[in-house]
Point group: D2
Chain length 253, copies 4
């Protein structure tokens, strides 16, 4: 059974800040958001976690291996370098969706995302080191079959994007409802899902569902390990195996 530690990262009171005293230049907001995400990728990633940009003002991270001190350091480092601060809330569950549910509840209990007085919240309990196992995190790395040949090199770029986006929108919803999994678009034709130790049949079912519903053909490599980084790298290698052997689902060995 997996045991996923999820951290919800929320920029404090961000919406109001973006229009105070006047709406701020969009390109500066875009720069701020994407650089904050890049920094979190390094801060969390170099401790073997993964973070996903999600809505940028709310980001979701898989943080198995990061203790409370590591979270506090990340929060402090952001506060020292950005005009905004972040709140962090940690949830743990075999189901990634339930873990994020716990993390969200804790943050909502502390106050609204647009409450000026609710800043730099740090809630939740990381997994104890003694309870960690080598099968705590399952990561599935999907991509689209021959996306470059079928889309990028053929269609208007926006239509390529629509195809990828419809595939993603369908997969994210299906995986959430059928498998308690959290799926994130990570650029190109790639989607990374954090899963509750689901099996080959479940992956095949999701791939079929997306193909039947929106006509986008996916394949997936799956890895299982102690941290998001280790599981994710195993998933990438498994995806390479899919490519070489022309298969739809591969589990890392």
């Amino acid at each position: 059974m997996t045991n996923t530690q999820v951290t919800l990262v929320q920029i404090d009171n961000y919406g109001p800040w973006t229009v105070t005293p006047e709406p701020r230049r969009e390109v500066d907001l875009q720069t701020l958001q994407s650089r904050l995400y890049a920094d979190l990728s390094q801060l969390i990633g170099n401790r073997m976690g993964y973070v996903f940009f999600t809505r940028f003002d709310n980001m979701v991270a898989v943080t198995n291996g990061l203790d409370a001190d590591a979270h506090a350091l990340i929060q402090e480092s952001v506060g020292n370098r950005y005009p905004v601060t972040v709140s962090l809330s940690i949830g743990v569950d075999s189901s990634p969706a339930a873990a994020l549910g716990t993390a969200t509840d804790q943050l909502q209990d502390a106050g609204s995302a647009q409450d000026k007085g609710r800043t730099e919240i740090l809630r939740g309990d990381p997994i104890q080191p003694s309870e960690r196992t080598d099968t705590d995190v399952q990561i599935a790395h999907f991509d689209v079959n021959d996306a470059t040949g079928k889309y990028t090199d053929q269609l208007n770029e926006f239509d390529s994007f629509i195809n990828i986006e419809q595939g993603y929108a369908e997969l994210m919803r299906y995986m959430r409802h059928e498998n308690d999994s959290l799926s994130f678009f990570v650029g190109g034709d790639n989607i990374i899902a954090v899963c509750d130790g689901i099996d080959e049949a479940a992956y095949l079912d999701a791939i079929e569902h997306v193909n039947e519903t929106v006509g986008v053909e996916l394949k997936v490599g799956v890895g299982l390990d102690r941290t998001a980084q280790a599981a994710g790298m195993a998933a990438k290698h498994a995806l390479e195996t899919c490519r070489e052997e022309n298969t739809d689902v591969e589990f890392a060995r």
Copy 2:
């Protein structure tokens, strides 16, 4: 009539690079992609353009006011600072979708996105300064009504995200097919669309369509100007008017 100048930014041969010689660490790829986008936001944004992250390996920019030299400088600056290079292709049309179609065609003609020998392409003709007008770019800035109150402060963050994402997926498709417009999620509950000078009825129709189809309620501020930055800032102010006056569509005066 609008006259949108669109630039397609494509990372050269990116897919193969990400797995050569072995799959690279995902967090480094995420950092690279989001910082490249941040840099383009500044490079293009400080010349009054807008750039959208789209798929990150393919980004779409509105570049009215940027001539060929400005494009060449951006291309050179990226080449000097990243392990990857970018190709740029410029299209101009009253229809943003058609402009991007031209830009895409030009780049596809130059070779595949995964052709090792096709690097740092720069194609297409910017608008001549003498032909530019104060109504060349129409920008529509949408957001979700009370997203914080209805979603962020209530739901599991992933379910908030699913709602925003379904709203976006529906809007992008509808605006593309009905209005030749290009719509981009820009974080939070915000979507920015580059439009072909469409009117209030067309915006109301799109908002109704999204509400009926996926139950997400949008409002929109619309600006028209010489550059994306000026039109976009006007749109933001118009969106503030929607908020204050509780209306669905506002055009900047």
Copy 3:
């Protein structure tokens, strides 16, 4: 005669901020400072200016070609993305040192660098476009003869650094007092000086002085143009000529 436009960039009330409420983590301060400098390099550099890190909390830029609006945009963009703000003060003079003197005076008149109420000052008048000429900026690019062979590949790195640093400390002082020029270490074994249209004899004299005083052998390429970027690139090519022809001073033709 040159006509250098210099901008002093000063982080507002930075010293007190770094220790409020407690001393902030040094690595975050270093990250903040060097990224702010990197951003200014792009914001100013992509408008054909040069900026030097100097003391990081006070930076000096050569901004021929940047008008007041460009300065205001840079100031706004920093304010939107950093936890600190910057003041900018512009001076113009045939002497770079005198231009910086004017810029400094204007900022000192506005209040102390550690005055909480003195933020985002923007003072001084850029050169009128009609008064700009192709010989407004002289840039001299120095490097150390065979620094890799004599220092980097031979000495303890700190002793290499001491040599470079003593060479720089001597050159900066001499060029300031003898030639009203501003010299900046820019990394490696490179020093860039902004000069008042001085001639070959003055450069040879400075090189001799440094060699005699601290035993560091320099050579220099010199460029003259409308902007720092153009003059600086010409200087780099001239320095390549020094390397190829084994000469001490070369002026770009």
Copy 4:
């Protein structure tokens, strides 16, 4: 007795790269260098180390607590995100200067800094965890007495800078030769020295020497701990004590 672990970071074959095929735009080189330094500050800093920009193409880090894997990860992460690679060489000694000497020797033995074939070297042995103690690193944080009042708010900014720079050049040389210590300018009026467990008399002597030689008045806070970060933060607090109690040297208790 201190036991400093020093890592020399050297950009591989950087000089030739900056002029190949033609000299690259200086502002892009400045951006690249300062961002690489910022990234290393985070990568090393968030593992409790310190890194100093030194010459930018050669940087010096204090890395007590970073093992070989952490070094390898940093090297890989840079290689994934920059157009250049870095070599890393680790030395350990009670004398910081000797530790850097070892690190430099190892890298020089591997080949020239401008040898195309010598890339991504990783040499040297970090301290074994069992051998680490709470007094391994001594950090001294100097600043200039009333630098804002005497220099920044009074003089031409370049003359302020000359004063700070002369103070630094004198201190770095003296501390290296008298105390085997490595001193680095870190911006503003701040100098951080990595020291070989020297005592109050040695600090007072250095301060007097700088004052007598170049007329710059320094004070210093000193911290001793297991890591650079912990020792450095203690030093900052001790420096605050100097400010409050108007003393020249304070050791953290």
